[in-house]
Symmetry: D2
């Protein structure tokens, strides 16, 4: 259960304070050009300390690619192994293995948490499930696990963009008690930090340029694949697309996406309550979805909890943490969207043999 996807598949591994995070991207077609600098760009977006409202912990996220890719010569033919300085490379059709070393770990910071179950973390449930856990920074449950998703997403989005013109962009659309904009974002976070607290947020993700036909009618509905992708991200409490929860308050006549023939003679939709997906299949309109992040569970304010010896304790977290996980999660949401949609594109290639040109 550390693999996501059907044809385009990502398998990840790694504990936050172990030697490395890493993954294997399987099912990627051969002969595609990938710009590895784009991977670095996306990793930088996720990195702490590079934006407002993010923790100051310094993570070096240098991704080393170990397989599945080769340098190309001027004619686009494979010319040798990739290295840390490779730019444009080509896929071999074989699995892409990669690792990101964990450095600056400060595992000692977590000694005090070795026997404590932090409230609203995985700690207690994990211990009961496995009987053993890596207590340092959440181990496998750490948000650090998402770094591998960003690597795979950075690969997938390039293919979607170059081959199909599919563009994915997410943003923090709402948080705290007010609408989110450049000014009050910083203030709200600053306010939460001052009181040793944290805030939640909503991330909206839009996908433009999707062809009609992605997704399967029953157990592979596109919204199902996307919901599964998003809900696999730690801290997300809800997913909706199109009219979302608001649809429950609409009438059928109001929520109908009526069709017409546009001025170019093509089928067109008058509205997009469907969020670009009908009957589980993309209809060519923009896909719009929103996910809700809870506030970072680690706060400096004292919280009541218990330890693994069954004693009640009061916890005052001292480690580094983000006051709003939704901020850094934006590229993670985009990455999971990209991974899912490329998978859907590949799955759709076998839906019928003879396509109209």
């Amino acid at each position: 259960m550390n693999t996501f996807g059907h044809i385009f598949r990502l398998t990840t591994f790694g504990e936050s304070h172990g030697p490395a995070m890493g993954g294997v991207i399987d099912g990627i077609p051969a002969g595609l050009v990938i710009d590895l600098r784009e991977v670095a760009v996306q990793l930088a977006r996720r990195r702490p300390g590079t934006g407002e409202g993010v923790s100051r912990r310094r993570e070096e996220d240098r991704c080393e690619f170990l397989s599945g890719l080769m340098e190309v010569d001027a004619d686009g033919r494979p010319a040798g192994s990739v290295s840390m300085s490779s730019a444009e490379v080509v896929t071999l059709g074989t699995p892409i293995g990669f690792i990101i070393r964990n450095i600056d770990q400060r595992s000692k910071d977590y000694d005090a948490l070795r026997h404590v179950f932090r409230p609203s973390h995985a700690d207690y449930a994990w211990q009961m499930k496995y009987g053993i856990r890596d207590w340092r920074g959440g181990g496998r449950s750490s948000g650090r696990e998402t770094v591998c998703r960003v690597v795979a997403g950075a690969v997938a989005r390039q293919i979607l963009s170059r081959k199909y013109g599919i563009l994915i962009s997410a943003r923090l659309s709402d948080f705290g008690t007010a609408g989110c904009n450049g000014e009050n974002l910083g203030m709200a976070i600053e306010d939460a930090v001052k009181s040793g607290d944290s805030i939640g947020g909503i991330v909206e993700c839009r996908v433009a340029g999707l062809p009609v036909g992605l997704g399967e009618p029953v157990f592979g509905k596109l919204q199902q694949m996307l919901a599964s992708a998003m809900m696999s991200i730690g801290g997300i409490k809800g997913f909706e697309y199109g009219a979302g929860f608001g649809a429950a308050r609409l009438r059928g006549t109001s929520a109908a996406d009526c069709m017409h023939i546009d001025s170019d003679g093509n089928p067109a939709f008058s509205t997009n309550y469907s969020g670009g997906i009908q009957g589980g299949i993309s209809n060519g309109e923009e896909v719009v979805m929103r996910v809700a992040f809870k506030p970072t569970p680690t706060v400096s304010a004292p919280l009541h909890t218990i330890d693994d010896a069954g004693r009640e304790v009061v916890l005052e977290a001292r480690g580094r943490h983000d006051p709003c996980i939704a901020v850094r999660a934006v590229p993670v949401v985009e990455s999971m969207a990209a991974i899912t949609l490329l998978d859907a594109v590949l799955m759709n290639m076998v839906a019928r043999f003879d396509r109209p040109d």
Copy 2:
């Protein structure tokens, strides 16, 4: 992509106006007693015409079990094949095949829709994807497909209940513009029907008695499995659990599920913002989730759309339809929860070898 689950797996087939719906339940352990009358009870809950606010179309949903089960004698030993009148039977550990014949189909009712793309239905996207479709009542995209989920759910919930004391119950919690209760439900639906319209609704599902430890930390998070299950149901536009979308507006100190030792000396949670799941793993608290259904897209009021020859047409649906799909969807939601949770229970059996007793 017509299979759901990892160990406990449901594969379904069937178009709404074809000969039959059916499915295969695989991965069910041997030696479990199942009461087939419970299947009939659950099918009756989903059947149209049996409650307020549901269509009057008469579907005979008699499930015929074809394999995987045997009648038992007084000593609980297998005694012969199951029949339509079997009550308590026992699982063989082999796949349970079943069918439900489609009768009272009135396929002729759909002749007028053969070339028309109904707004907010799968029709247009389906035609573009496959180049061919069964136009009669939605074919594979019909809500009728959920009948197979109810069969599998009725099997799964018995096992969860008898073996683990896990209880699942859903209800229509909210719809239209007001809170939902016995009185205004009927009125709101009646009101919608009068104007040839339909309404949406929110279904809340609660699961009590779950053990700690179900779900996997990364790509098999329990909320991910449940979201995938729910979002595979047609007409659902959103999923949330625990504090859900409201969590985005909370602060970390408010949303923390603090722990203490209760009067019996056991670990306990003071609140349940987590909705019974932390880090993707059940923590023993009640699992609470909500899904939002859009209003039935088929309405009697005229809607603008196009046909498969690229002409604009006005559609006034005449067929039978539910004014509120959320009403009949309640047992479907429960069924998908049951299927998912039994799968999670089985998956958890291999998480560690040595369990404390």
Copy 3:
């Protein structure tokens, strides 16, 4: 574990003396024409009593298709549901559900075997694994289970043949102590029957017309997929392809399939020790494989065994049985080859985006 395949997938169910056998064919592309009479033809080849050396038990193997297919009108457009008398039909891209009723079961014949573990059958291992079993005719372990494979194979082979010109044919190539031909086949079987015994045999399967490129380099090697397919057939004790076990006795220079440019200017192989597969990938040559069937384990001669109460007993089988399972298995071998190869064809469609025309 009742599903075979990756994209083109067959799920089966059914006990030999339960109400019906059946299956679900998933992953079949839309818009393909299938002749259902071909299914009947293949089922007839497998049916007992229709050839030399097969049991006289009468099985009515009428396959009822329940979904995924529609009748077509003169223009090839879907026109209505399939029936038992349908001939040419078209695929909808949805799962094809089908059942074959079990009739003429004579379950009473098996009462004596209810508590006995037949030698070299699944009985003992099954009872120990599941703690419960359908003792009638082997239940799920019966050779009757292969009827569903023949249905799916009859569908798959049509697509392979029409779309790609791929032809699959198997034959009993060797058995008993002598080479197999029309004359001595009957004699050897007659001889075995006279002494209440049975014989084994080797089935060779050849596939012509395969394109280059099917199969995956590591864990989806074409020979691996084919071996898995064949070894899932009951009674098969060995699989080999190309030079097979004989390759172990060759030298590298003798076993090298040297290449040259043929008179048409195309790449060509001088020999085919590779059996049409190199590095797990089809190379365009004929695929040649052989499987070894053990003799039917049910014989009339007395055999020592035990019952489920731990008593030693002597078993003299009275039921109907084939003196040589390899005879009826020929269409089963072909069917599993067809299912596997169509899956490989579909998998190969996503190996690269840009194909040379």
Copy 4:
């Protein structure tokens, strides 16, 4: 298609002359003690230059474990990250990521092969399938890929041995034209090397101590899982178990594994023609299987072939190669058996709820 297994799953990546080989072991239960020195021991068995009849190329196969494991303290509790010098460690229940750097690659040796399709290698079929390939040493198709299987196998076999007393051992049982023993092995290889040639061989693998009940009755038969595992190893042309191909020449009365009650009062088999598997399920007897390796396709003697420009060329391989791949393959065969059997053990844990003790 770079993942093997159902619950215990191995995903591998790596080209022979890329930066590293590696893999992810998923589905391993938590709390198991693993001795990493055993991994080194198994890798040494596979390493070239350490036995008779193996190539003198020097591969440094140092496996670095990156996740899923922790050092333990004296009380067996997790104490810190693993390192290259770790001995006994404990599983966390999370995926075990590992890499083995490729060193001493001499990629230049392969420049001459960049455009040539070596006879009986993957080269031609690969190029046609993917349109691009890593020509250096076979790339992903290299036998070097098996190093990852040996790592996973070394982990799996420890669990099988410690928890269940299951022991796996393989040996080169036959090769060339004569039976294989300590004396003539070396001679035959020396003889082949002198003439610039190579030889094939048969490896027999035996598994003792298996419990009754592993394997599934239809599409997960134990022999099917084992055949799939073995046939995924490069160079294997055939698989058989128990009486194998010889069974085709037996009569039913000769091949029956009769049962009796032994002197301890336990069920026992008089013979083992079934090779420890009946109806796809282990019966508690020794599992015996044999695989046939073709001779190493790379030989020094000149061979006719073509290049990727469609020209005929004569190839005289100069690189290092094993004169008999079956020799080094012995631990690979054992490893694939271990991986498969641990998977079967875990799958069997969910076959029934209530086991007799």
